[in-house]
């Protein structure tokens, strides 16, 4: 029966292409797909915890398709940014997230949009999962007025509701995140703050200062170390006396998990969020992940690691492939369906890139605005004493 349906579907698809239509027709109905499946996920390494997240995760078809779409969107968006950067349409700093998609997507599925999140400069993926659109992210990268920060922030300074950037100073976002968590506790709103940093930042003193205060005051803060094995060009072994980042919180309980598996990340995040919301104080997660690109667009990324290593991760641990394989082998989606999503994503990225390259730059009279909030208009000195520029809130 299935074989016959496949044949019919192929025929229909064939005729559709001949007519010039680009729509892939899938003759299989939803009733054919498995609505949900349970997957074994890797056990987390635990620090100062009696038990960890569950060893199995339930994934529904809808969830799977949504995670796939979002991860694919991040992937394609980052690759497009790479392209635009090489064409010199994006300038300055550009730190790409491809390879790490499961972290951003998995974390977001473990919390609510009403929770809070802050990260460092590799932030495009999070800007998307936290409610930004591809259009406004790309237009920010190209420095246009339609950018999420009106072109005034750039790659490292994007914000949405309950998303505090996008921070350029390594490690500075960690105390900020604990402060957001303090506000959550103070206001009694049962919200938590997810506070991300990398393996490079993990050695920063202010992070340990933050661990101390977050623990003392039982702040509802999930500290998450995205360990992609390299802080710029320095491998973890050369930077840290202890690379067990999940243990570095000392008195803070920690988990180390596979950051390439979106289900692992989701379950761990849910576990951590529950820990925080129950008033137990902060918790630390280390996500073992990998970035395909170099540290930034000015780093080819192959002087401190081998192409073989990158290729190996791509072929064996790619987060999108992992999810795709799971769904296909459990009959939760069809190849065509996922291809359809790919096409839609590609189109969305193309449209966004088109917007990002054609939207005008910010107007010059926006130059001095946004210095102060809720203040009367004021004068700002220009480059010479005769130039007095206007600034409004």
């Amino acid at each position: 029966m299935r074989k016959m349906l496949t044949i019919i579907s192929n025929v229909l698809r064939g005729s559709a292409s001949r007519n010039g239509a680009r729509v892939v027709v899938s003759a299989r109905t939803y009733a054919d797909f498995t609505p949900q499946a349970t997957f074994d996920i890797k056990k987390c390494d635990l620090h100062k915890l009696e038990e960890g997240p569950p060893l199995q995760a339930v994934l529904t078809r809808e969830e799977g398709l949504q995670y796939y779409r979002t991860m694919q969107t991040i992937r394609r968006m980052e690759l497009k940014a790479d392209q635009l950067y090489k064409q010199k349409i994006i300038r300055g700093f550009c730190h790409l997230y491809d390879g790490q998609e499961a972290c951003a997507v998995g974390i977001e599925t473990g919390i609510n949009l009403s929770d809070h999140l802050i990260t460092a400069y590799r932030a495009h993926g999070y800007t998307l999962t936290r409610g930004g659109t591809v259009r406004e992210i790309m237009a920010e990268l190209t420095g246009r007025r339609g950018g999420i920060a009106k072109g005034k922030g750039g790659s490292m300074h994007m914000y949405t509701k309950h998303f505090y950037g996008g921070n350029g100073i390594v490690g500075a976002q960690v105390p900020l995140g604990a402060g957001v968590a303090l506000a959550c506790k103070y206001l009694g709103n049962n919200e938590i703050c997810v506070c991300l940093y990398g393996d490079g930042a993990a050695n920063q003193g202010q992070i340990f200062e933050t661990y101390n205060m977050a623990s003392l005051w039982k702040l509802p803060c999930i500290f998450i170390c995205e360990n992609n094995k390299y802080g710029m060009g320095t491998s973890v072994e050369r930077a840290a006396a202890s690379t067990d980042y999940y243990k570095r919180g000392d008195f803070i309980p920690g988990l180390r998990l596979d950051g390439m598996d979106v289900l692992c990340v989701r379950e761990a995040t849910k576990f951590a969020a529950e820990h925080c919301r129950s008033g137990k104080g902060p918790i630390l997660m280390e996500l073992q992940t990998y970035r395909y690109h170099g540290h930034s667009m000015s780093d080819p990324g192959v002087s401190y690691r081998t192409r073989e290593e990158i290729q190996e991760v791509r072929s064996k641990s790619d987060p999108i492939s992992m999810l795709k394989d799971r769904m296909l082998s459990n009959n939760m989606a069809s190849v065509e369906e996922l291809k359809e999503i790919d096409v839609e994503v590609r189109k969305e990225i193309e449209d966004a890139a088109q917007f990002a390259t054609t939207d005008p730059e910010p107007p010059l009279d926006d130059l001095c605005n946004h210095i102060f909030y809720n203040d009367p208009p004021m004068e700002v000195r220009g480059t010479n004493p005769w130039t007095k520029l206007k600034s409004v809130s």
């Binding site: 506000a183 946004h370 909030y373």
Partner: protein, 359 residues
Amino acid sequence: MASLRCLLRSGKTAVRAVLRREFHGTPPAAVQVTVRDALNQAMDEELERDERVFLLGEEVAQYDGAYKVSRGLWKKYGDKRIIDTPITEMGFAGIAVGAAMAGLRPICEFMTFNFSMQAIDQVINSAAKTYYMSAGRQSVPIVFRGPNGASAGVAAQHSQCFAAWYGHCPGLKVVSPWSAEDARGLLKSAIRDDNPVVFLENELMYGVPFEMSEESQSKDFLIPIGKAKIERQGNHITVVSHSRMVSLCLDAAAVLAKEGIECEVINMRTIRPLDAEAIETSVMKTNHLITVEGGWPQFGVGGEILARIMEGPAFNYLDAPAVRVTGVDIPMPYAKILEDNSVPQIKDIIFSVKKTLNA
């Protein structure tokens, strides 16, 4: 309620004031209030007025404040709103900024501004620049306050003036009160301001009493940030200063008055935004200008004022070059005789005024 408390705290003088007010029908009496008490009352009233306001810093709660500025607040408001922090400036300043981003209105105390250097990245990069970088999406309503500048015998690492450092940065408001009235009105304005404000107090001024009018004791008494005040009118020379140096300028002016030299003493009140207009108006009247500050000369507050005067309409009114009276360009020494000679003294101000007028 708070003014009643203020009256009670001020003791006998206050009671006399109240009695005078009630029974003799004379105009409302002013009260003597120290700068410390003015700051304390301002914080108390703002904590009461807005639940989102809270204070954090080293020793602010159970110790009543390293300089007793927050005395009584922890007892009244408790652990939630008056928070003792560990000795980790970068960490707690960052936490304060994060809390401000998420909707609270923190007052972050630095035990002295010398220690703010450990946290200066959070003040500048996380607080000051964020509203601009986010194109108006993310505001940071925070006050960083604490004693600034020279004290007495605390030596080089504890005596630096940060007015010029913070005054340099767009996105910050920088305030430097002198009197108790300044302290009260400006701190209330700073706390109610929706932007990052650096509030530079002075340890040597904490214990100095000032007369405060009844009006200035009202709960909604606010002094606008960005406006200077003429403390003493005069026609011969404009003397611009901020913080403790205003006291010395007024003392110097009193001495000079005996010789027939009338100084117009301007109390800047705010470092950034600088009230250049007030200074220009005065200079256009007096034709002479000196600035007086405790900080170092190079790239300082006085340097900025002089540059503005050069670039503005008042230049043509100057009959002599404008000059700066500043701290000596050295790290602060310890021995009293050396320390006394490291900051402007009244005689230095008098000397500079006379030189400028004779030049």
